[in-house]
Subunit: 102 residues, 2 copies
């Protein structure tokens, strides 16, 4: 089929429609994450300037509780939202370490 | 200070402003992820119905290349975007396994 030659691995229009939606959502998330890291970079610089400690376990606990609640409302696994926040915070810490190293 | 009694761990208005932005972005990402998992669930059901294989390594490779490119444009570490997609795909696989287990 001519169709298969053009798009050998995406011959199914239903599947292609789902994938288009996934790709749009992924692009949105990537841009949100880029903005989030811009802000956490500013937070890191600000905390260094006013000599606040880099980590704030109380703030993290509040963030986790809030995201778990939001996830439940959005029918997303709350465990996953906690894992997700941890994944992002670990990356923020790596950014700060890289910045500190120079 | 009365302010400190009300918000003991967030006495700094500059920091509070940054955190408000981070919280808004996190809420947006959580809702995007909830929608993404709704779609991947539909994809899983559709693939089972039309007997397509659950995994598609070629599609994954295209997704990774695309997100790396988007990340570069958004000044986000491309390595991170690849790790992020892997993190999400692993969760999708867990969802499918749970669904298959009943």
């Amino acid at each position: 089929m001519a169709h298969d030659l053009q798009h050998p691995s995406e011959p199914d229009p239903v599947l292609a429609g789902f994938r288009k939606s996934i790709d749009n959502i992924d692009a949105a998330i990537i841009h949100m994450l880029a903005e989030r890291f811009r802000i956490t970079q500013a937070v890191g610089e600000y905390k260094a300037k006013v000599t606040l400690p880099p980590a704030d376990p109380e703030r993290e606990a509040r963030q986790i509780a809030r995201l778990r609640k939001l996830s439940e409302e959005a029918d997303l696994d709350p465990e996953f939202s906690e894992k997700f926040l941890r994944f992002i915070i670990d990356e923020v810490i790596r950014h700060h370490e890289r910045a500190a190293a120079g």
